[in-house]
Amino acid sequence: MLKRTLEDKFVDTFNYIFLTLILIVTVYPFWYVLILSFNEGKDAALGGIFLIPRKFTFENYKVFFTEPKWVGGLKNTVLRTVIGTALSTGFTAMVAYGLSHRYIMFRKTYFNLLIFSMYFGGGLIPFYVLLRGLGLLNSFWVYVIPNMFKPFMALVMISFIREIPYSLEESARIDGANDFTIFARIIVPVSKPILATMALFGSVAHWNDWYSSVYFVTRKNLKVLAFFMREVINQSLTSDPTQEQLVATYQGVYDNIAVTTRSMQMATIFIAVAPILLVYPFLQKYFIKGMTLGAVKE
């Protein structure tokens, strides 16, 4: 039985205090966003709100769901996340299955092409020229197609597939199944952890991407939520906004309510964060495994 020395007590206390501080610093910003989103904007501008809302209201969220740009942005974000992730996970997995076989012809060439592409690229401008040439600019598909294949994820999946006992594949082949059938009926069900990781990473990337909306799309009805969030940030950063500007009643269309740009921003941020917040704790063991597989070589 280990004796707890004085040093032990010291270290443990320090540890607990420090980690609790880290916990607070990590979590409090989200709590703050939450309470501010449920607080009247005008009241919040007076300051002094730290732990709980002072004047509770659903107004900020009501405005969000009735304002076309916010709802439209959310819709585009959801659409691209669902479609984009489904396509990228499926496509990357399928390619990984093809590449995972150690005996296929040209595999050395394929792998060299793959790995080199992970470290060198043409950069933004040639990519932009390509998108333009392919007609992807200003179309919904510019969000989906350039993100369909993830070389790093493919490599992770290849390692994973190689761990699957060949007997599974073998018995299916003997029964006459072709490679596509084997992929769909055997590999996919067994690879659920990796697929879950790929889907998680893919959705997070789609959900948070603001960049494509700024530079690859000009039609307002194609912009995603992240784009409008950035707009708000820019507004408040180009010059130090005055008190009046911050407290300004939202667009004047809605009178008699206390919504401000800031309180709207809080509601938007929380809506952007909520889905991730609800999902990621449950997928922890998957992405932890994926992360360690990808980085630590056995």
Binding site: T5, E7, V11, D12, N15, Y16, I22, T26, V27, F30, Y32, L36, G48, F50, T92, M94, V95, Y97, G98, L99, H101, M105, Y110, L113, L114, I115, S117, Y119, G121, G122, G123, L124, I125, P126, Y128, V129, L130, P146, F149, D179, F180, V204, W207, N208, Y215, A226, M229, I233, S236, L237, S239, D240, P241, I269, V273, I276, M291, T292, V296, K297
Partner: protein, 328 residues
Amino acid sequence: MSGTTGLQADKAAAVRKKHNFFVRLRKEKYLQIMALAGVAYILVFNYAPMFGLIIGFKNYQIHMGIKGMFTSQWVGLKHFREFFTYYDIGLVLRNTFMLSALKMIFSFPVPILFAIMICEVSSLKFRKLVQTASYLPHFIGWVTVSGIITAFFSGIDGVFNNLLLNLKLIDSPLDILTNPNKFYALAVLSDIWKSFGWWSIIFIAAITGVDPTQYESAIIDGAGRIQRIWYITLPGIKGAIAVVLIMAMGHLLGGGLSGSNFEQSMLLGNNLNYDRSMILQKYALQSGLEEMRYSYATAIGLMESTLSVILVYTTNRLAKKLSGSGLF
């Protein structure tokens, strides 16, 4: 075998090889389709743009389309010279380098320290709680984080200033978002906040892989807690530290472990803190997509990519020499 000349044997072998080639191809046709789908994809989306880098050596205009890559006029190193004579090149490069260096020094150790602290906690519940919370900032994207940052540190209604004013620690609000001298600190600290939990995953996994009997014998030999951490835990995870270090060096131009320089510069940079927030990648993007100087921006991008590859390759070689293993 008598009666068969060397030449005939070679010919026969060649015919057999050709026959084998097509037999194999037919046998693995579906696998080839699957693999080629991916290869075709990267040929289009990765290698075609690589070819498009020649734009950097030409006078390219966007209205020329893809054809223009071939038909526009060669100007050799004109755009590269232009970049090196840009009046603000010193500022841009300094900011890019400083942000990367500062993140390397300050952001890099934090996940390691955090991992060690987490593993020293005995309460499983507390461990899980703090760990789970630590991953959250990684998942929420820089736009959201920037939104939170502007709300927190705003000079008008930011809760941070609010709190400090209430506690009488300051008399007037801090201009964290608009003062260039505060940008580096803002960038590094927010990068730490966003990435420490995520990157600690690797180190936590490495720490749990350290042989527990080493600790037991150390205790018997009279080693204290700190000594055990210093002499067993740290050396035990040096492989993981090396791997992450290589990855970080490869991303050096991008800044920090997750390449945050660009997004921070784009989202938190503004006219007021320009002197510290303008970095190479942002300058290239603005020159290209906003000022329409496509060839110029491509030239800058080419230099960047080349530098990046050299960095990755060099650090990998170095790591192999020092510790016997690298990323590839």
